[in-house]
Symmetry: C2
Subunit: 231 residues, 2 copies
DNA sequence: TTAATATTGTCGCAAATTGAGACAATAAGT
DNA sequence: ACTTATTGTCTCAATTTGCGACAATATTAA
């Protein structure tokens, strides 16, 4: 334990997925005066569950409780140990290293991904960072350390879990159209899906509840709205 | 860092699967004079990759290099912090706590599963343990801490990965029959599979190489032997 | 009012995959 | 030769999937 009550050598990083403009986006932080971009992360308090630490951090960054959260890998190579980077961040913030030398030590980072409804979130920077903003997956800035690897592995895991864990609906508002859901699946998988087949498949799962139609004002048939039926 | 050069608060545990007698088995250690059973685990050196630490430990426990290894979860609840258990183990070994107080601290454990050829292994205890032996999954002793949860999650992950990662053949010798491979799949999935369907499916993957027949001396047609075709 | 247009819900059909049994072809033992 | 257990493969039905088609809207334009 150190003076701040955090476990040494252990950090977490989170890949927070949202869906907007037909694209998958993630939250990226930018540190003051450094040009460094990073995933939102944090540390684990001495008397706190690892999972709770991540939820606490996500709550601060997004304002949301009860997020869909999945742990997917612990990154533990020696190559990711670059104390000079953390030193740069601290110095750029005029932060004394006094009492914070533990931050310059080696960390193993447990990575999580979260799925949230884009509209519900107000991204919030922390004390060390300028900004916390959404970036589309294909327009990410250069990320520090191995954070690009973490994002890649998060996306891969999300794809693998797509059908198995019925993950799609966590990225949408309570009510959504079939087309919107299909766009989410396409963004995650990175490929077009056949409309008829997709609709049939999803409906056959029996997990959607159909609501009244949505009149968009556009010159065509109005689609039904659906919600995710809780078991 | 501590006097032994290990990272504080970080451990790993491994679920080492082998296949014998038509059953899945795993390696379990028993600590001297305590009646405590545990998964093989260990710690990470200060200048060592997490994955390398696990391979090092597995090499000591099984004698094998180049093991099929998969990380599946980091267990980090506060509930698993029970210093009195580690103290019991140390005392039962007349080990002084001098310089080892870090062992009584809280640990987050990164769990891995390994798949190995049962016949290739001579289970080897370490300094603190009586024995390191195979136990069938349905005949496990009571495991300490949350190790039973770790085993359950390992099995679940193995099942989920079964087709996706073509995992079955790592549990068999180089040459094996189709029936043996089917038994492995059945043991992992916990259900019977249809013989014809299984054979057709596996062969259609195009990853098996067929060799000469195996004459078992039994009163029936001899099966072909197969090996896993490396890409 | 009627026609044009874009999009939706659903259906039909062919292709592919899966589940389950059947049958001929063995290796021994009797 | 006859019996028995097991293997490799096949067939056929049932199910799932890929893909296009069609009727049913909601709105705008004529």
């Amino acid at each position: 334990m150190n003076s701040k009550g955090y476990l040494k050598h252990i950090a977490y990083d989170s890949v927070v997925f949202g869906f907007s403009g037909e694209k998958l986006k993630i939250l990226i932080m930018k540190y003051h005066n450094t040009g460094l971009f990073a995933l939102p992360g944090g540390f684990v308090k001495y008397d706190e569950d690892l999972n709770d630490a991540v939820r606490r951090g996500l709550k601060e960054r997004t304002g949301l409780d009860n997020i869909y959260l999945e742990q997917f890998y612990a990154f533990g190579s020696v190559a990711r140990y670059k104390p000079e980077i953390m030193e740069t961040i601290m110095k750029a913030n005029n932060q004394s290293l006094e009492g914070y030398s533990w931050l310059l030590d080696r960390f193993i980072s447990v990575a999580y991904y979260a799925l949230i409804n884009y509209e519900d979130v107000v991204p919030t920077p922390d004390a060390l960072s300028d900004s916390c903003d959404w970036y589309a997956l294909d327009e990410l800035p250069n990320l520090m350390l191995d954070h690009a690897d973490i994002v890649a592995k998060a996306l891969q895991t999300l794809r693998d879990n797509l059908e198995r864990k019925l993950v799609g609906m966590n990225l949408l508002p309570t009510l959504f159209t079939m087309k919107e859901l299909q766009k989410v699946y396409e963004a995650i998988l990175g490929e077009k899906l056949h409309r008829g087949t997709f609709q049939r498949k999803i409906l056959s799962l029996g997990i959607l509840k159909r609501h009244e139609k949505q009149y968009s004002g556009a010159a065509h048939k109005a689609p039904f709205l659906y919600s995710f039926e809780q078991k």
